[in-house]
């Protein structure tokens, strides 16, 4: 620098300083570079280098993958310390170090291998099928089961994700799922129609039931300002007990039963199998994928989806631009509920065919988890649901084959979400570079909603 007085304009060469043109923070903050062309600043960095940079910076995709990886490591440690043989071998690590180390590894690999072969593909079954030409059902059954388990997660998860993107916290997927199931069930056993009309009607009934249930918190929030988290949590109990109530008598209860079991869906109301009756995967899975595609299109291409997105990202700006926040709130709850209702219908018409007390398990809550893991994007939710379904389905195989309890997979699922919710921790563990734009906070922002 110069310390002598400068009263004259700075020299011209300073005008085109290239130093700060990379992001918007510098000086005039122009990404175009000082007077240069539009693509000036990024064009000079080779592609491979930019890709490499993306890999070591803490962007959401990298953090998600590392969260899953870290959770699997953590699960592995858990398997080792709870395994009697491994602990015993480790206590003799001084005399038999090789055996101790190999046991720690093989125990974990066996367990994860069992999960994989139970949920995706078993190499043994494949080998057997190829050599004998028989048993192909066994080869495809794990994948089929994973798809069946993923179906309701995808639907309910996409619904929750659309809510999150819009800035509303629909914790009521469980209740909406039950509401959709009840309506779909009624249409499924009480109405007699040919399959070409009956099945679409059942699908619509599930969607309508869920949407109607979603409208309750939506209207309450828009009209009275009631907090949607409280309302939806309470409504979950309402629908749970409503199901128990209607299962106790006519017209829903299976005649001649005292147990809380419903009538069965008529055959015209059931989803056709995709690959023959030996594999349980059915049309519901295709519907779930199609609905995810529709949701993706909806958020990106429809005007309504755009107003959802804007409201979620900045409600003030949405208001200033003339969008109606009450309209958005009511509609997003209806749509979120619609997806949850279809989730209940999908399993009912796909594999279950009747309702019983506790139907739906914890799908409505796992939907929140997969929405989070899928970064609230429909296709992200699909992958997250497949992963969670794999862990659930494969966990059973693992329990049978290795004796490790099924709860381990729940621990892994929870640990994944733990790391997803603490991106700063993941960044620290792997020494990732900060992107400096607060991109990571997007995961969990706004829970106080």
């Amino acid at each position: 620098m110069t310390t002598e007085p400068i009263a004259a304009p700075a020299p011209a060469e300073d005008v085109t300083l290239p130093v700060l043109t990379v992001d918007g923070r510098g000086g005039n903050g122009d990404g175009r570079g000082g007077g240069g062309g539009r693509d000036g600043s990024t064009g000079e960095v080779p592609l491979y280098k930019r890709l490499l940079n993306r890999l070591v910076e803490a962007n959401p995709t990298v953090v998600t993958i590392l969260s899953i990886f870290t959770a699997l490591i953590f699960g592995g440690i858990l398997i080792d310390v709870t395994s009697g043989t491994v602990v015993h071998a480790l206590s003799h690590i001084g005399s038999h170090p090789g055996r101790a180390l190999s046991l720690t590894c093989t125990t974990v690999l066996d367990a994860y291998g069992a999960i994989f072969s139970g949920s995706v593909l078993s190499p043994t079954a494949l080998g057997h099928a190829i050599s004998t030409g028989q048993g192909w059902t066994g080869v495809f059954n794990p994948l089929s089961e994973t798809c069946v388990a993923a179906t309701p997660l995808i639907l309910a998860g996409v619904g929750v994700a659309i809510g999150f993107r819009t800035g509303v916290f629909n914790i009521g997927a469980q209740g909406q799922l039950i509401a959709g199931s009840i309506v779909a069930l009624y249409v499924g056993f009480a109405v007699h129609l040919p399959i070409g009309i009956h099945l679409p009607l059942v699908i619509l009934a599930g969607a309508a039931g869920g949407a109607a249930a979603g409208l309750i918190p939506g209207i309450l929030k828009a009209r009275t300002g009631a907090h949607e988290v409280i309302v939806t949590i309470m409504l979950n109990y309402v629908f749970l007990n409503l199901l128990n109530y209607i299962l106790g008598g006519a017209p829903f209860q299976l005649p001649g039963q005292t147990n809380e079991i419903s009538q069965k869906m008529l055959s015209t109301a059931r989803m056709p199998h995709l690959f023959g009756s030996t594999l349980r995967v059915n049309l519901s899975f295709v519907i779930a994928i199609a609905m995810a595609a529709l949701a993706s299109w909806f958020m990106n291409r429809s005007t309504l989806g755009f107003s959802f997105k804007v409201s979620g990202a900045n409600a003030n700006a949405a208001r200033t631009a003339g969008m109606s926040s009450s309209k958005v709130t009511i509609l997003v709850f209806a749509i979120s509920g619609l997806f949850a209702g279809m989730a209940g219908m999908a399993t009912l018409a796909g594999t279950n065919f009747f309702l019983s007390s506790g139907y739906g398990g914890t799908i409505g809550f796992n939907a929140i988890t997969v929405a989070l893991l899928g970064r609230n994007k429909p296709w992200g939710v699909v992958w997250a649901s497949m992963l969670f379904a794999m862990l659930d389905v494969g966990g059973a195989t693992m329990q049978v084959r290795t004796g490790i309890t099924l709860d381990l997979t729940s621990v892994i699922q929870a640990t994944i979400i733990f790391f997803i919710a603490t991106p700063m921790l993941v960044r620290e563990i792997y020494r990732l570079r900060s992107t400096g734009q607060g991109a990571l906070q997007l995961f969990t922002k706004g829970w106080s909603g």
Binding site: I6, A8, D14, R25, A317, A318, R319
Partner: protein
């Protein structure tokens, strides 16, 4: 204290925020650090105050090298900082705030309130600060709160005070009072590092001026050796028009008409009271006033974000008093909101998407509920050129742009369609000189295209530069509408509630304010 910064360099990834910055502050000197937003001033001050750490370079105090791991160490070595946003506990008294963190205690840890009060009184008289130690901070005007911050630093025995954009929130009179305080601090041998981008202030108060641009020191000078134009050129790196040349307007018929407009805030307190205002086509009315006197609420009521309690609002004869924001946009009202990041933009969305935020569901950007993305991108591409928005392309998120370019996106969106009236709240807040020039020019162009323009600004320079007429607001009322020719002093006095100009003042063209006794 003699402070030397020697070769300070700080990088954030590929961005060099400070590039070998050298700066020397002599004892008893008011040293101005001048630069646009993003020039690296704040980074440098954060390094000096121990909030950030330099990658290389050295800080020396009275010749001895020092390093600050955190602000506590900087304070211990005699550096005090008055932040732009005050760090005060609103419900505590002045004495409690000043003592906070360095509380004098008696036996068993009892707080010694009396000695804290005495301290405040002593410092306050010594430097002419005039602060009552027992006043609760939240009841004090902003200017006095700022003095409490200065007291805090003095109480911790600061020998170098950093004042970060201290005048942004002050009236012209309060600014003068602050300069007076600064001079008395200087007389006591303390050094002051004064950060600002207002050129007038620099010339009136500084002993020495250092100008930064793009992370580098581009020059150092003294007020006697320079003038506003030269400083602006150094700051921006090119010639800029400080005050735009504005041809006289050709006002036509009344377009925007406010009659007895009264507005309440969330708690039901009246914040805008019985305001009458008429703005004609082709005319700019600048609404002057210190922040918090109801201008924000008035603007929100006009654009439809805040309900009108009584009175009416008409745009080109159509009553809009109770219509929706959407309807008003449709009827030709444009709005540049006060806080572009809070209300004007969705930072995570692209430039192209932000440019159609209020047109997203009408042709050509949508058809039957389906968005036309290519029309949106074409529109974005056009706006980049037409409004000189500096970005790689129209698909980058608005959040990655500088403040000036973000504001250009807002301006481009609001002025792209034909507007009958434009409401612009603090349209150049936080912008650099170059962007201010640009935004001002666009607003004048909108006027010349026949729009009725209402500018709400707490910057007197802006009010005087843009306004064809100036309405001054104080405590929710318009206390007078004057010609900008009446001068800074008169308008400044009106902003401070110092009465409306006397009847003989020939600059007064109209007097719409309501006298005190006339309650609605």
């Amino acid at each position: 204290m003699r402070l030397e910064l020697d070769g300070i360099t700080k990088r954030f990834g590929s961005l060099v925020a400070n590039d070998h910055v050298n700066l020397t502050v002599e004892p008893g000197e008011i040293h101005c650090l001048l630069g646009e937003n993003g020039a690296g001033k704040s980074t440098l001050m954060n390094i000096l105050f121990g909030l950030l750490h330099a990658d290389s370079g050295e800080i020396r105090i009275d010749g001895a090298p020092v390093t600050f791991a955190d602000p506590g160490e900087a304070i211990r070595d005699g550096i005090g900082m008055v932040h732009q946003h005050f760090m005060l506990v609103p419900v505590f008294t002045v004495a409690e705030n000043v003592a906070l963190g360095f509380e004098p205690t008696r036996r068993f840890g009892w707080l010694d309130r009396r000695s804290a009060r005495a301290q405040v009184r002593k410092l306050s008289t010594e430097f002419g600060l005039e602060v009552n130690p027992d006043a609760v901070v939240e009841t004090l005007p902003v200017g006095v709160q700022q003095r409490v911050e200065i007291l805090k630093a003095l109480h911790r025995d600061a020998r170098l005070l950093i004042l970060d954009e201290p005048t942004a929130v002050l009236t012209p009179q309060e600014t003068e009072a602050l300069f007076h305080i600064m001079r008395s601090l200087k007389a006591s041998g303390r050094s002051i590092l004064f950060i600002t981008h207002k050129l007038k202030e620099v010339l009136s108060v500084a002993d020495r001026i250092t100008v930064m641009r793009l992370g580098r020191v581009v020059g150092s000078t003294a007020p006697a050796q320079t003038d506003e134009e030269a400083l602006a050129t150094m700051m921006v790196g090119r010639n800029v028009e400080l005050v735009i040349t504005k041809p006289p307007g050709h006002p036509a018929g009344t377009v925007l008409q406010l009659e007895h407009l009264t507005v309440s805030d969330e708690r039901g307190v009246t914040v805008v009271e019985d305001v009458d205002l008429e703005i004609r086509a082709g005319e700019i009315v600048a609404l002057a006033g210190v922040q918090g006197n109801g201008q924000t609420e008035l603007a929100e009521a006009v654009v439809g974000l805040r309900p009108v309690r009584s009175g009416s609002l008409r745009l080109a004869g159509v009553d809009l008093t109770h219509t929706s924001v959407r309807q008003r946009i449709h009827d030709g009202l444009a709005d540049i909101p006060e806080d572009r990041q809070l209300d004007g933009l969705v930072l995570s969305l692209s430039i192209a998407e932000n440019l159609i935020l209020d047109q997203y569901d009408v042709a050509p950007f949508a058809h039957l509920g389906v968005r036309n993305l290519s029309a949106m991108r074409a529109n974005g591409d056009r706006a980049l050129n037409e409004f000189d928005i500096r970005a790689v392309n129209e698909n980058v998120p608005v959040g990655t742009l500088s403040g000036g370019n973000q504001q250009k996106v807002v301006v481009a969106r609001e002025l792209a369609r034909r507007v009958k009236a434009l409401i612009a709240s603090q349209p150049t807040r936080g912008l650099d000189v170059g962007s201010i020039e640009y935004v001002h020019r666009r607003i004048v162009e909108a006027r010349d295209d026949g729009a009725a323009v209402l500018i709400i600004s707490s910057e007197l320079d802006e009010v005087l530069a843009l306004g064809d007429r100036v309405a001054v607001m104080y405590r929710g009322r318009i206390v007078g509408i004057v010609d900008p020719g009446v001068g800074r002093e008169t308008i400044g006095l009106m902003m401070a509630g110092g009465g409306t100009p006397s009847a003989g003042n020939e600059g007064v063209t109209e007097h719409v304010g309501v006298s005190a006794g006339e309650e609605p």
